[in-house]
């Protein structure tokens, strides 16, 4: 008898014990979603701030590269993911380059599949045009978020995950953090310590 068979046999024995005790079956509970109101973007921006991130909004007529350059506020090379390669990254003052290898780049730009207002989170993934590890190797991560992708609750985010249809999807909320040394909250434990979002209306 294999371990698998033994485990299923013990599960069946457990069911028999429960039945013998006259236990009433517990129905599969329906999920009741929180009610969040209509101002999802405002809620998302507020939640981003509460989770140590910063949300910026692209001004009318402003280029994404210019907005990113403003956010980056440094002379470092700014790496960008394949999923945002179609943007015009030419710039007079900053150097943008497509990040191929998982190097520890100081600044990296990628895009989210969706934003989640309830928690100020974003859904990101790996895939054919996204290298997920780059988002973990950098100090400063800049995420482009289309306002049109905004969802309200975590349950709505759960609906988006199969639609994204990638091997690994991440619900990211704020920078990497630890409280393992003396109970003090320290950002940048392993991944980004600075997280900026550029909301594209």
């Amino acid at each position: 008898m294999s371990a698998r068979d033994r485990i299923f046999e013990r599960i069946r024995q457990g069911h028999a014990r429960r039945a013998a005790r006259g236990h009433e079956p517990t129905p599969n509970p329906a999920v009741k979603r929180p009610v969040l109101g209509d101002e999802l973007t405002a809620l998302w921006i507020e939640q981003v701030g509460l989770h140590f991130g910063t949300a910026h909004t692209l001004a009318e007529g402003q280029r994404v590269a210019d907005a990113v350059e403003q956010i980056a506020d440094s002379g470092h090379i700014i790496g960008f993911d394949a999923c945002v390669a179609s943007q015009d990254w030419t710039s007079k003052t900053a150097t943008f380059e497509r990040a191929e290898a998982p190097k520890d780049r100081p600044i990296f730009v990628t895009a989210a599949h969706a934003a989640v207002a309830e928690t100020g989170s974003v859904l990101m993934s790996g895939g054919t045009n996204r290298k997920l590890i780059n988002a973990y190797l950098v100090r400063h991560l800049i995420v482009l978020v289309s306002e049109a992708t905004m969802v309200g609750t975590l349950e709505e985010a759960a609906e988006r995950i199969p639609e994204i249809n990638e091997r690994q999807v991440i619900l990211m909320t704020g920078p990497s953090a630890t409280g393992d040394i003396g109970g003090e909250l320290i950002l940048g434990a392993q991944a980004a310590d600075r997280l900026d979002y550029l909301l594209i209306p």
Partner: protein, 471 residues
């Protein structure tokens, strides 16, 4: 390699005495307990928390009552997504299976994110025996690995360590770095970040646990605040998931209330930084991700609890809230217990899993305050389960003779209120004369009076104080 702790009652008492005499530990635990329990209290004040908790408890209970159905569904869907599911029902079986996988893929160096299941099967020891180098990637786990200790808490493995102790460990183990470097808490985190980066790069195999397994899609859910679970697997060729059979949840939507309660109860915030949903191995043309995904599902006596009075323990989501709020755990930390699961979870679970003859005494290390019941995000009646173990120990005549005799006398007194109140008054009067500084009662009560001042400011019984206050 870790030494298997002695789980006899005598060894437990010895560890308790040592912990009580360790001033650094007691101070660290006191600070730690305050911050964790305070954070949880703030987070569970949310107006919907009670509803989410009910929903989380019902989802977990429903799964347990239909475990075979959901496990089969998970196995089918994860296999279709490209994972290979392996089943193990004992520690030896699990150690053999996982080390074989590592050897098969020629992995001499492994990175591993925090997983209580791998602690249950003593995976680090099994790897050491086979010459496989493993590095823990969660900072707390990394610290206890350097100290050659097991974790003392399910969420904060190094919560018993003071910053001074961590500094000493880093100075000792990162000897290639200048000894006079500054090592405040930020510098320690930075140093571990850099050291771990090298380990990620050097390893081809990444091991993680799984907080939940989603049946209808074969998805694995992991939760970390540091992002180390993703780093562990994204640079690896092979991802091995090690988790318990009870972790399955019907749908992704139903996992969301569980994630809300898990994060809040653990004191980590309303949601932690990284929640990862993994389905299958790397697909053709994916830019990164492991090429092979194994999911090792472990039983380790879990299914023996199904249908018993202790079944509710399998709802546990390992948030550590019961430990953060336990006044007993907060005094001595997790190592006192000598078991993988310390605190109320261990005290309730282990006497059922390993028998009251072996670990029944753990249930007595409780003050019965029920704070663990109140904060548990999946409504496990931990105190009632501990009381049930104590009753069973008493009925089966397990434990010290003197303790059982005292329980008999106490039980006899409790059923005779007039004699009980007389005895209570007499005892209080006695403490006035014999308690306090000279502690003459100590000889009679032994360890019970070691850490307590048996002189009460008010010698009235609780009932007489209560009736006086009503007047």
């Amino acid at each position: 390699m870790l030494t298997e702790p002695d789980v006899t009652l005598e060894a437990f008492r010895k560890r308790v005495r040592e912990a009580l005499d360790n001033k650094v530990l007691r101070e660290t635990m006191e600070n730690d307990g305050r911050s964790w329990s305070g954070a949880t209290q703030d987070l569970i004040k949310h107006e919907n928390y009670a509803e989410w908790r009910r929903q989380a408890a019902n989802t977990r209970q429903h799964v347990l009552e239909n475990l075979d159905t959901y496990l089969l569904e998970f196995e089918k869907n994860s296999t279709e997504a490209g994972a290979e599911v392996l089943w193990c029902d004992s520690t030896e079986d699990a150690q053999r299976t996982i080390t074989s996988l590592v050897k098969k893929h020629k992995g001499s160096s492994v990175v591993k994110s925090k997983s209580m299941m791998t602690e249950e099967i003593h995976l680090r020891d099994a790897f050491a025996r086979e010459g496989i180098h493993v590095t823990e990637t969660d900072l707390g786990e990394y610290i206890v690995q350097l100290a050659n200790e097991p974790p003392s808490h399910v969420v904060g493995p190094a919560s018993h360590k003071s910053i001074g102790e961590v500094q000493e460990l880093f100075l000792e183990h990162h000897s290639e770095l200048p000894a006079d470097r500054p090592l405040d808490s930020h510098a320690l985190v930075e140093e571990s970040r850099l050291v771990l980066r090298d380990e990620y790069t050097a390893s081809t195999i990444g091991i993680t646990g799984a907080n939940f397994l989603i049946a209808d899609s074969g998805t694995i859910v992991t939760v970390t605040a540091e992002g180390n679970a993703e780093l562990t697997v994204l640079s690896a060729d092979v991802h091995i998931v090690v988790t318990g059979v009870e972790r399955v949840v019907p749908t992704l939507e139903q996992a969301m209330p569980l994630l809300r309660t898990l994060c809040r109860a653990s004191g980590s915030g309303d949601v932690v930084s990284y929640i990862s949903f993994v389905r299958g191995a790397r697909r053709a043309n994916d830019l990164d991700g492991p090429k092979k995904l194994y999911i090792v599902l472990l039983d380790l006596k879990r299914t023996d609890l199904l249908g018993t009075t202790a079944e509710s323990l399998l709802r546990c989501v390992r948030c550590g809230a019961c430990m953060n709020h336990c006044p007993v755990y907060q005094v001595g930390g997790g190592h006192v217990y000598g078991t993988v699961y310390p605190g109320p979870l261990g005290k309730a679970l282990l006497p059922y899993s390993y028998g009251v003859e072996t670990l029944g005494y753990l249930a007595s290390a409780s003050v019965g305050c029920k704070r663990c019941d109140t904060v548990c995000p999946v409504e496990i009646p931990l105190t009632a389960l501990m009381e049930e173990s104590k009753r069973e120990s008493y009925e089966r005549r397990v434990g010290p003779w003197r303790q059982r005799k005292m329980m008999s006398v106490y039980s006899w007194l409790c059923t005779r209120p007039r004699i009980f109140h007389f005895a209570e008054r007499t005892f209080l009067r006695l403490t006035r004369v014999l308690g306090g500084r000279n502690r003459r009662l100590r000889r009679f009560l032994g360890p019970w009076s070691k850490g307590r001042d048996l002189q009460f400011h008010d010698s009235r019984t609780f009932l007489s104080q209560y009736s006086d206050s009503k007047r």
